[in-house]
Structures are given as structure tokens and as C-alpha cells.
């Protein structure tokens, strides 16, 4: 059995803890991190918006004002992804496989989960109350499309039952 833990900045410790608590001893654990292209692309776009600065696409490595910050973000992102996986592996404290992917996070996760025995992921939405909004678009997609069982965890202690709004009046008996 293969257990895949999708680790995201800010919420990953809860996923690692869930693997420790719920994954069978014999299971192969895969720590998965997906680097999205959006953040470097924001920097690429801001750089392209600077008209006339003599940026030379494809003439790298550039220097000084011709350094595209998006390129540096991509390089930094790779470093920080491996640092995150290192920290997660230490926290897990058992043999595991590290997998770094790049692309649209939700699609990559679903693809990686094919044939797996369990996908562990953390809620990424509004976590102040119980309810559907505690899932952001990426986790919602992964939960809806996962080709395997899913373990969905709260990154921090779950809010109380009182955060559920009362049922609408016309549904009351």
C-alpha cells in the first residue's frame, strides 16, 4: 500500500502527523510537494511590464537590471521545496519517498494519487468554522477527483460544532 501526503507551505505538519497516526507500518509513504508556476509568473509579468529596460529573453544569465526576478523565484522555489520535504521527513521519522512535482497543484496531486492506497491532505480554506468553505479550490478539486481513498485533516484543532449555522427555517419540522 502506498500512502501519499500532499504537503503545502503552512499546513504540512498536520499531514505528516496524520500519516504517523494512520498509515500502516508496512505502507510506503510518499511525501509530495507541488511547486505551482503562478508565483514566479507574477514576477515574470511585473518584469515584462517594465517597458524599454533592455531585457533580453533567452540571453541568460543576465546581470544587473536585466535579471528576471521570476527566474530567481523559480530557483528559490526549488530550494525551499526540498527544505520543506527535508523538514517533513525529519518530522515523519520513518523511511519515505520524496517527490517534487511542478505544475497545477490540484492536477498533479490527482495524477500522483493514481494507484495509491491513501491520499492525505489538509484543508486550505477558511478554517474559522466547520463547513464547505474550509476547502479552497485546490483541495476541493483534489478531494472531488481523487482516484483513491482520501484522509482530509484540519491543519490546526477543528473549530467547535457551534460554528455550524442553524438549519434554514423551512427545513425545520
Amino acid at each position: 500500500m502506498r500512502v501519499i501526503a500532499w504537503l503545502v507551505e503552512g499546513t504540512w505538519p498536520a499531514c505528516v502527523d496524520a500519516v504517523r497516526a494512520h498509515a500502516p507500518e508496512a505502507a510506503e509513504v510518499v511525501l509530495l510537494h507541488v511547486s505551482g508556476p503562478e508565483v514566479p509568473a507574477v514576477a515574470h509579468g511585473a518584469f515584462d511590464g517594465l517597458l524599454g529596460r533592455g531585457h533580453r529573453p533567452g540571453h541568460r544569465p543576465a546581470e544587473g537590471w536585466e535579471r528576471d526576478p521570476g527566474d530567481r523565484l523559480e530557483a528559490l522555489g526549488d530550494t525551499s521545496a526540498s527544505a520543506l520535504l527535508d523538514a517533513a521527513a525529519r518530522r515523519l521519522g520513518r523511511p519515505c519517498v520524496r517527490e517534487e512535482r511542478s505544475g497545477r497543484a490540484e492536477r498533479e496531486v490527482v495524477a500522483a494519487a493514481e494507484g495509491a492506497g491513501l491520499l492525505v491532505l489538509a484543508r486550505d480554506g477558511d478554517r474559522s468554522r466547520l463547513g464547505p468553505k474550509s476547502l479552497g479550490p485546490a483541495v476541493r478539486f483534489a478531494v472531488d477527483h481523487a482516484p483513491c481513498p482520501v484522509l482530509l485533516v484540519w491543519p490546526e484543532p477543528a473549530p467547535g460544532l457551534t460554528t455550524i449555522p442553524p438549519p434554514p427555517p423551512h427545513h425545520q419540522p
Binding site: 524599454g52 529596460r53 533592455g54 546581470e63 537590471w65 525551499s80 505544475g103
Partner: protein
């Protein structure tokens, strides 16, 4: 063939002086030159600098008489100090980076935020606003953004809101000083304001626009900002204070105020600051004369001069009449709002640099208030469109420059929330400043 055509155009212009410059051929030629210059700047064929097209285009505009020699000279004399000022600011920002200012910024942010995303966002807002205002938007985009990303990643914070903040503030926070943005330098030269009066009038709009952006960001990125990781790697060694760079920049800023009191061109003060920082780097063998020259981006400066000449030709040859009907009249709040909206629209279609060059000659006669309203529009407006303008965006789509591109829907939603609100609030603040000051 072509030379005969041009000389005919030149003859007709020279014989029909003054207002009769508006011959259809001269208008068409200068418009074609401007389109060619802008298209080249967006497409950048073979990776050649933008000046490769812009400088010959300016030469053609003058040689054919589409722009009279007198007007060309006047434009060059007006833009000369602007370009010198720009070069000095670029050199100052570059050597602040060499002195370690931006690395220190990263360390300060990490210590202040200690892994808390909202605190990091506040730190990014404060530093990006200050750096954009003092060292120009180029410094924020090229030098600060990677530091912000690295700081967020190092302290376990999701970097998206903070990187977005850098790009938005590089535009929104570039309102304060003439040095903050090339558009400001151009407007500053056209407005006749002193350095201190420009800053005094723009201080309130600057603060108001940043405040609105902050509120929009807190709400728009609430989910990302709620994800706090264990800050086990947050605390680093206290950063080495880049004292020399900070003192030099501080003295340069003070020098701007003193210089404007005595009527000295502030570009000289900036040149002084640039010489001090570059001189120290040269003396310590951390730079060569070549790196100092490259820090000043000579190709960019040539592009700015040439673009100014070409735009002047277009404006002289009829665009002034066309846009004169579109430009709102008056200096009341409604007129300022309409002016800023028009400027923002034009900046999003073409880039904000040509937009401000086109609008300034029309705004300048109406007084500094209208010029500053144009600035609010062209500086805040580009946050609406990815890559600064629709022209660049379309070109990126055509060449598929980045297979995995930004989430355009998210980018545009954020822009649609942030731009109209911050622009409107900033214009109202400008209107208030103009009444009070």
C-alpha cells in the same frame, strides 16, 4: 522611392510652417513610427534592445520634418535632466543592493514576522512602499521581490500574497517622489512643481492608495494568510546594518529638499548620491567602471529619449487635437477622476510610459493638479493587466512565452478590486491636498 517620399513630406512641412504641420502624411508617418517603436519594445526581436528601433525612429521623425528640429531640441532639453536623474537613481539602487541593503531587508522582515503571514505582509507593505518611493519601482521588482519570496519560503509562509504585494506596490507606491517612477520624472519635468511640493501633494494620495491596497490584500488573500507554519527556521542572525547605503540615501533625500529650496536641479543631488555609492564600490574593487555604466542602463536611457521625441511628433501631428476632445475640462473632483480613469485606461492598453508621454502635453496647460491626476492613473492603473499592458499580454499569449502562466482570472480579480478603489481614493486625496496645500 522611400527617401523621395520622405523628402516630399519634409518639404511640405518646412514650407507650411506652424500649425500647418498637420499634414496627413506627417501624421501617418509619426503614428507609424510610434507603433513600430512600441511593437519592437514589446516583441524585442532577436533580443535586441528597444533603443535599436527607437533611436532610428526618432532620427527619421526629425529628418523627414515630421517633427521640427526646434521641437525635437526642446523635447531633448526637457528630457535630458529626466534621463540623467533616472540614471542616477538606477545607479543608487544598484549599489544599495551591492551594499547588502536588500539582504538586510529580508532579515528584518523575517525577524519582525517570525513566521506569521499577516505580520510578514505588513512588513512587505512597509518596505516595498519605502523602497519603491525612494529607489524606484525597478528596485522593488528586480531586487526586492526575490528577497521577499525567499523570506516567505524560509519562514514557512505561503509566498503568493507577498509576491503579489511587491508587484502591486511597485506601481501603487510609486506615487510619492519624482524619483519613484519614470512616469513621475516625466510629469515632474512637465508640471513645473518643486521636488518638495510634488512630494507634499502626493503624500496623502500615496498613503491612501497603499492603505486601500492593504485592506484589499488582507481580504483577498485571507485564506493564504491564515496558513501559519511552525516558525522553526524563522529566527536568523541579526542582519548587518548597511549603514553607508542608508546614510547616503538619507543624505540624498535631504539634499532633494535643500536643493529645491535653492532652486537647484534635484538631478544633481541624485548624481552626487550615485557618485558616492559607485565611488565606494570602485574603491573597494566591488565594481568596475563598466558595471557602473551598466547599472545606469544606457540603452534604456536612449530608449526614453527617443520615445519622447517620437511621441512628441505624434502629439504635434494631430493627436493633441484628437485627445484634446477626450480630455476632461476643469480641475474639479469630477474632472480629476475622469482624467485619472482615462490615464489608467490608456496605460492598460499600451504601456504606462507611452501613455504618460501622450497625455502630459495635454494635461500640462491645465495645471499641476491635472498632471498629478494623470500620474495617479498611469501609476496605479497597470495593476489591472498582467504584464503591465494588454499589448504585452497579447504578445505573450501569441508566442506562448510561458507555457504555465499566471492564473489570469485571479490576477484580474485582484486588479478589479484593487485598482478602481485605490485609484478613486487616491484621486479624492489628491483633490483634498490641492485644496489644502
Amino acid at each position: 522611392m522611400a527617401s523621395g517620399l520622405f523628402s516630399w513630406a519634409g518639404n511640405s512641412v518646412i514650407t507650411s510652417e506652424g500649425l500647418a504641420l498637420n499634414t496627413p502624411l506627417a501624421a501617418a508617418l509619426s503614428a507609424a513610427l510610434l507603433v513600430a517603436v512600441l511593437a519592437w519594445a514589446v516583441v524585442r526581436p532577436f533580443g535586441w534592445p528597444e533603443a535599436v528601433m527607437a533611436v532610428p525612429a526618432a532620427g527619421i521623425a526629425v529628418a523627414t520634418g515630421a517633427l521640427s528640429l526646434g521641437h525635437a531640441r526642446a523635447e531633448a532639453e526637457r528630457l535630458g535632466p529626466v534621463v540623467g536623474f533616472l540614471a542616477a537613481v538606477l545607479v543608487i539602487a544598484h549599489f544599495c543592493d551591492v551594499e547588502g541593503l536588500f539582504q538586510a531587508c529580508g532579515a528584518w522582515m523575517a525577524r519582525w514576522a517570525a513566521g506569521r503571514p499577516v505580520r510578514l505582509l505588513s512588513a512587505v507593505f512597509a518596505l516595498a512602499s519605502a523602497i519603491t518611493a525612494v529607489l524606484s519601482l525597478d528596485a522593488t521588482i528586480v531586487l526586492l521581490t526575490p528577497v521577499v519570496f525567499a523570506t516567505a519560503a524560509r519562514t514557512g509562509v505561503r509566498p503568493k500574497p507577498h509576491v503579489y504585494a511587491c508587484t502591486h506596490l511597485s506601481n501603487t507606491a510609486s506615487l510619492l517622489l519624482p524619483v519613484s517612477n519614470l512616469t513621475n520624472l516625466l510629469a515632474f519635468a512637465a508640471s513645473g512643481l518643486s521636488f518638495t511640493r510634488f512630494a507634499a501633494l502626493m503624500a496623502l494620495p500615496w498613503l491612501a492608495a497603499i492603505g486601500v491596497e492593504y485592506l484589499v490584500f488582507r481580504r483577498f488573500f485571507a485564506r493564504d494568510l491564515a496558513a501559519a507554519a511552525p516558525a522553526d527556521r524563522a529566527a536568523g542572525a541579526p542582519p548587518r546594518l548597511p549603514l553607508f547605503a542608508l546614510v547616503t540615501v538619507g543624505c540624498t533625500l535631504a539634499g532633494f529638499v535643500v536643493a529645491s529650496l535653492f532652486g537647484v536641479e534635484p538631478a544633481w543631488v541624485a548624481a552626487g548620491g550615485a557618485l558616492v555609492l559607485a565611488g565606494r564600490a570602485l574603491a573597494r574593487r566591488r565594481a568596475t567602471p563598466l558595471t557602473v555604466l551598466r547599472a545606469a542602463s544606457p540603452a534604456f536611457l536612449a530608449f526614453v529619449l527617443a520615445l519622447g521625441v517620437v511621441v512628441r511628433a505624434v502629439v504635434d501631428n494631430g493627436l493633441a487635437d484628437v485627445l484634446g476632445h477626450v480630455m476632461p475640462d476643469g480641475t474639479g473632483l469630477a474632472a480629476l477622476l475622469a482624467t485619472a480613469a482615462l490615464a489608467a485606461l490608456l496605460a492598460n492598453l499600451i504601456n504606462n510610459l507611452p501613455a504618460v508621454l501622450v497625455l502630459l502635453p495635454l494635461a500640462a496647460p491645465a495645471g499641476p493638479g491635472v498632471v498629478l491626476a494623470v500620474l495617479l492613473g498611469v501609476n496605479i492603473g497597470p495593476n489591472l493587466t498582467y504584464a503591465g499592458s494588454l499589448a504585452t499580454l497579447l504578445w505573450r499569449r501569441i508566442v506562448h512565452q510561458h507555457e504555465h502562466d499566471v492564473n489570469l482570472g485571479e490576477f484580474t480579480r485582484l486588479g478589479l478590486l484593487a485598482v478602481p478603489s485605490s485609484l478613486a481614493v487616491a484621486v479624492v486625496a489628491l483633490w483634498g491636498s490641492l485644496l489644502v496645500l
